[in-house]
């Protein structure tokens, strides 16, 4: 199991489009993924769960990935965060 703290740096935060991208990326991997923020823990492969976090700009979240392909899954997800979900701001 690996864990990494990630910063939501796009202006709109984890809204539907960004969430959809994250869920789509993670769903391509076998590992389980959990997102922790504001004291809540949600399934990071669930668009509903992630949206319900309502994590806005500047929120720090912890992504936890567990499974055989956890390293590559984390890499892909972290890259998406770093690219601000390809939507800038």
């Amino acid at each position: 199991m690996i864990e990494r703290e990630l910063l939501i740096a796009n202006k709109l935060g984890l809204h539907a489009r960004a969430t959809a991208k994250l869920v789509q990326v993670l769903s391509g991997y076998r590992s389980n993924a959990t997102l922790v923020a504001k004291g809540r823990e949600v399934n990071a492969k669930s668009i509903m769960g992630v949206m319900l976090l309502a994590a806005g700009y500047g929120t720090s979240v912890v992504l936890r990935v567990d499974g055989e392909d956890e390293a590559t899954a984390m890499e892909a997800a972290a890259a998406l965060f770093e690219r601000k979900f390809d939507e800038g701001g």
Binding site: K11, L12, G13, H15, A16, R17, A20, K21, V23, Q24, V42, N43, K45, S46, I47, M48, G49, M51, L52, A54, G56, A79, E82, R83, K84, F85, D86, E87, G88, G89
Partner: protein, 571 residues
């Protein structure tokens, strides 16, 4: 009792059928308990319905072509993810298994719970996500009912509702809905444009429809005039039958137009190009006698995948379009990708505060020259198989045109020295969609062979109005005096230098706007094959010199209402 309800015609066609009224928040399901022995069969029913909705969404995604594919597709992607959502599914499962509720009621509970969380959020954006949840849960609910009683589906019925989303329309049509009546909406909305391309009768703005129509009422709907008649009498039915015969004749005539020229009454030929991005588009463009492909979108080669397409893959795709058009010219638009597109290749630059104003179109191409060079090599190689033109999106200034032209020239030389057979001259064109390029067109028109006006983006940039933002209401509309005047100037500048100019936005595909475009001086339009024959028919009924004579009056119009009046006076 017979009575008429006024509305606005948004998509032509007549329909007679039973009304099916869908009130907002239709998911009113009473509490319903099931015995423990029925849990498995109840869940089975639910999952069968969910699977069916999933297939339905996938089919809808495949059916989407053209201008709406990107926007509507994005909603569909989000809806598809919601449908597969582990939280949503687990919650439903728990409600049925542990709570011993029937699936209908479980759906309602789950909907209400999720909605209450979203509705409690501060952010209006998140609050409005309830619409997405409603849509997905509503689909599953409808599917459950269709299985129980096929008669309850919208097949053979006329849907009366408050509003309709573009994504829903194509689905309703494949289910066999006869017509749609909405209490709100406008004839210029995306839904209306889509309804016209689907040939589905649509009446919008029928404010009284929800109050005055009941389930099971017989309705007569005229998508042309916008009139709705509840419980029509014998005379209405006679008139309806006459209109049907007329429609049938019209369809036949339209079909015959496949081999006819797009020529005005005063013998001027208008070039009708097709917009295309799929094999089907190209085939139908060919079948209905399009002059060629005026806009071949290449983004699909780059999106929805993790690796960039290599030169050979692209070459084969472009060559197949050229071969498919058997000698008619094909215009290939170089990649129009930006941070707003669902790009997974990492091609688009991230970290942009405003993607619409960021590194997109030719800006991205020039920033990623190796990728651009691969695409240009592939396009130029395809030019050996038939007439081909290159169209470059998002041109803002002369430097970009010069840079692309130099690149094309150098690559052509390379390819020839490597023994490739390529066309002597491959015309280079600029998309005019950035206002700066439109205003300063004379500064670079000499460096291009043709131009194509992208009215969707031009309107968005000129009016500073995001076309995807519903909150802006009718602000986004090409029927603004500024848009028309700028288009007139662009057309004049291009013609004065002997360059051909086409329009390739949604405007071009709307037959009601064809007279306006002709009046502005256009003689080339590029549009989706779905409405090409209708536009051709409209062209064949126009007197071009009269339209051009009416152009000054059009350009003097001070607002959209006046422009619409100008259009009405013509017909």
């Amino acid at each position: 009792m017979r009575h008429a309800i006024p509305g606005h015609g948004a998509s032509r066609g007549n329909a007679l059928g039973r009304a099916r009224v869908r009130l907002p928040h239709a998911l009113e399901v009473a509490e319903e308990h099931i015995p423990a022995t029925k849990v498995e069969s109840e869940l089975q029913r639910l999952h069968t319905a969910i699977d069916a909705v999933r297939v339905e969404m996938r089919n809808m995604r495949h059916q989407l072509h053209g201008a709406l594919a990107h926007e509507v597709g994005e909603f569909l992607d989000i809806h598809a993810l919601l449908l597969d959502d582990p939280e949503l599914l687990q919650g439903l499962d728990d409600l049925v298994r542990k709570g011993l509720y029937g699936v209908d009621y479980a759906l309602r509970l789950q909907r209400d719970r999720l909605a209450s969380v979203f509705e409690g959020m501060d952010d209006t954006y998140f609050r409005s996500r309830v619409e997405d949840i409603d849509h997905v849960i509503g689909r599953v609910h409808a599917m459950l009912h269709k299985r129980e009683a096929d008669l309850r589906g919208v097949a053979g019925e006329i849907l009366v509702t408050d509003a309709i989303a573009p994504a829903e329309l194509s689905q309703l049509q494949s289910q066999g809905v006869l017509a749609v009546v909405t209490a709100g909406g406008s004839a210029l909305s995306h839904s209306a444009i889509l309804a016209r391309s689907l040939h589905l009768p649509l009446v919008v703005g029928a404010h009284l429809a929800l109050q005055q129509v009941n389930d099971g009422d017989v309705l007569l709907v005229d998508g042309g005039s916008g009139e709705i008649i509840v419980e029509p009498n014998a005379a209405d039915l006679r008139a309806y039958r006459a209109r049907l015969r007329e429609e049938k004749r019209e369809r036949k005539q339209l079909h015959r137009l496949r081999r006819e020229p797009s020529r005005t009454l005063d013998d001027v030929d208008i070039k009708l190009w097709a917009n295309a991005e799929s094999r089907e588009d190209v085939a139908s463009a060919h079948a209905i006698g399009a002059a060629g492909v005026g806009l071949y979108r290449t983004e699909f080669l780059f999106l929805q995948r993790h690796e960039l397409p290599d030169e050979d893959e692209q070459f084969r795709a472009y060559r197949d379009v050229v071969l498919g058009m058997t000698g008619r010219t094909v215009t290939i638009r170089t990649m129009d990708i930006g941070a707003d597109k669902a790009d997974r290749t990492g091609l688009a630059l991230a970290d942009e505060p405003n993607p619409a104003l960021g590194v997109r179109g030719v800006r991205l191409s020039l920033a990623r020259e190796a990728v651009f060079e691969t695409q240009l090599r592939a396009i130029l190689r395809a030019s050996g198989y038939g007439p081909l033109r290159i169209l470059v999106p998002m041109i803002t200034s002369r430097e970009e045109v010069v840079a692309v032209a130099a690149l094309v020239k150098r690559i052509a030389r390379d390819l020839r020295s490597q023994g490739h057979e390529i066309a002597e001259h491959v015309p280079l064109g600029a998309m005019i969609e950035v206002p700066a390029a439109a205003i300063a067109l004379s500064s670079f028109i000499g460096a291009v062979d043709f131009i194509s006006i992208g009215t969707n983006d031009l309107t968005q940039y000129l009016l500073a109005a995001d076309r995807g933002n519903d909150a802006l209401g009718d602000l986004y509309s090409p029927l603004h005096p500024a848009v028309l005047r700028l288009m007139r100037d662009v057309i004049r500048t291009a013609k004065a230098r002997g360059k051909s100019v086409a329009v390739c936005g949604e405007m071009a595909g709307d037959p009601t706007l064809t007279p306006l475009l002709l009046a502005l001086g256009l003689d080339e339009l590029s549009l989706h094959p779905a409405t090409l024959l209708e536009v051709r028919r409209t062209i064949r009924a126009q007197q071009l010199d009269a339209l051009r004579a009416a152009a000054p009056a059009l350009l003097r119009c001070r607002d959209r209402a006046a422009i619409e009046r100008w259009l009405e006076q013509l017909s």
